[in-house]
Symmetry: T
Subunit: 69 residues, 12 copies
Amino acid sequence: MSDSVYKIIDLVGSSPNSFEEAAKNAVETASKSLRDLRVAEIMKLDMKVENGKVAAFRARVKLSFKYSD
Amino acid sequence: MSDSVYKIIDLVGSSPNSFEEAAKNAVETASKSLRDLRVAEIMKLDMKVENGKVAAFRARVKLSFKYSD
Amino acid sequence: MSDSVYKIIDLVGSSPNSFEEAAKNAVETASKSLRDLRVAEIMKLDMKVENGKVAAFRARVKLSFKYSD
Amino acid sequence: MSDSVYKIIDLVGSSPNSFEEAAKNAVETASKSLRDLRVAEIMKLDMKVENGKVAAFRARVKLSFKYSD
Amino acid sequence: MSDSVYKIIDLVGSSPNSFEEAAKNAVETASKSLRDLRVAEIMKLDMKVENGKVAAFRARVKLSFKYSD
Amino acid sequence: MSDSVYKIIDLVGSSPNSFEEAAKNAVETASKSLRDLRVAEIMKLDMKVENGKVAAFRARVKLSFKYSD
Amino acid sequence: MSDSVYKIIDLVGSSPNSFEEAAKNAVETASKSLRDLRVAEIMKLDMKVENGKVAAFRARVKLSFKYSD
Amino acid sequence: MSDSVYKIIDLVGSSPNSFEEAAKNAVETASKSLRDLRVAEIMKLDMKVENGKVAAFRARVKLSFKYSD
Amino acid sequence: MSDSVYKIIDLVGSSPNSFEEAAKNAVETASKSLRDLRVAEIMKLDMKVENGKVAAFRARVKLSFKYSD
Amino acid sequence: MSDSVYKIIDLVGSSPNSFEEAAKNAVETASKSLRDLRVAEIMKLDMKVENGKVAAFRARVKLSFKYSD
Amino acid sequence: MSDSVYKIIDLVGSSPNSFEEAAKNAVETASKSLRDLRVAEIMKLDMKVENGKVAAFRARVKLSFKYSD
Amino acid sequence: MSDSVYKIIDLVGSSPNSFEEAAKNAVETASKSLRDLRVAEIMKLDMKVENGKVAAFRARVKLSFKYSD
């Protein structure tokens, strides 16, 4: 039957360089085990600060993928 | 001990006919593997549009169920 | 004086069949005792689940009506 | 160039029968003049009440379409 | 590589005594199987009412932990 | 007919000792006159401050109960 | 006992002249029957438009008052 | 057919004197070209500051009007 | 270097007459000591009620100004 | 007369490389036909995923421009 | 003149025992240097987790106090 | 005593090149005078537009640091 059910999860990726790279890390880690990812929505952006410097950019990403029933 | 812990997940169901059927698809697919579902909250409703027509109604549903620790 | 004051209340209606019927139940129950209802806004939709099936559709509805001072 | 720009608009559709029909009216009216509609998100649902009865179901729908620059 | 990916889940804990105990139950149940929990954010607090008395305090808690890819 | 309509109200309880006691005061005061309370959701927590000390904990609580039509 | 319980209601006042007057109408109508009003929070402002002109300013106001148990 | 579709737009009006006048400017400018405006909702209020003084009051207003298909 | 950093603060102004005057009081008090204010956004409006009458209009205002590093 | 009215629209720009480039595409496409753009606010960021890779960064941007009455 | 201006700040207090104690710590630390604190609103509650246990309860608290102009 | 109190402030950084650089400017300016910064959350992203081009990327950043009582 064609009416698939999708599951939504939130992942947090991280990168020393940019929010784009942080988000890509989350998406590409998820795509190793999840099927049929199509859109990844940014839910939150923050930065880890160490010794007064930005040490990492982080992106919380909402992903939907086929739910295996 | 009686103080059970519940887990919350978000699923997206879909139907060519109605939001109710879309939500039911999500709930009934989940209930095959999850224990003790009691309330399913609608988080978002949208529609897939193809060739200027509504091709599917979709419902994002938040479900809680017993967390197996 | 023409500057009427309205009161706003939230009701939850329920139906085994649809969100529309759930919302109608709330509106029509309210209209038995309240004057001058004109708009009913949907605030929340959820479903009661029993034995893995959707047992009821529920609609929380915000209603405004003439406040009797 | 492939990086298209999309515009987002909000329409309100209405129906005496259901929220689905109200949303469809908005989408199908829009599709007469707008190109490349793909998703229509429900932003708000309400009802028009007349003489204590629900006279119309209304759906506010957010649509994106190709922006003609 | 150091750019770990974290997953975020929502659990609901419960206690007859306090919101703190309810939240602790959720965190400590999760920590049996999840690695590297560091912060648990309260998303919602509610109470189960029976016979006009508060029968349980409940806390919905958002937790992040290392995602095993 | 089984499709009951519920009404939702917001009460604010207060206590010199804790948010739990504040919320309980609201619920138990309401339960003297309202039927069939089942869930009480915390909407807001604040504190009254006097002379630089917390003089009272306050909890705004949303309650639903059977609507007498 | 000093731990009073307050109830919160939402009223909509209206005025042809200003939002301040609209809000005052709501507050002063409420104060005829409710005890111990202290703060009235503006929840929403809108305007009724007739024949392309603003016919009324309206203010939705949240009020708390002593709950008679 | 009676099930009209409405479009919603956001305008920002401005005035040196008051938020009411700012909102009126937005509504009355819109009503020169748009049909069947009935409600205008305030979405945001801010002020332009020049040399430490409030130079203008501004109101962002959401308007709905008949969509010409 | 031209990439200035701004700080954002929230002030609450008050007036017996209007929200505009309340907001102006906040802005003009701030401008005595802060440099380069340009926009002041209204975050919340409420009223102090005494003896059933509106005793003061209050405006919470968000202001940004040059941060002295 | 100096009290101009502005209109607000939402556009979605896209780029294979970054959110900045996606947002710039939206702004610069809009500026071909709209007068007096000054601020563009990011409303939402998401990514298109194809074959487990981020295929495009997208930015929803809110723009205000002079409304031609 | 009586129309005082208040400033609003956010503090985060912490306690090994309870949210109430965490919030009290924030309020009482603030009251050492700030005048005329009256209400402290809870903005966020979270917990620090160490070795799978809740190590601290934390409360973000919004406080208003007299602004010294 | 170990239960430190933190203060939260909002800064806006700016950069001609990227949101990351804008956020870094805010964090690094703050770290000159504030102790123990650890996380910086992005609250809002916008762009300054001049002559139809993006002239600056801006990031509003929420920072917490040890409150000196």
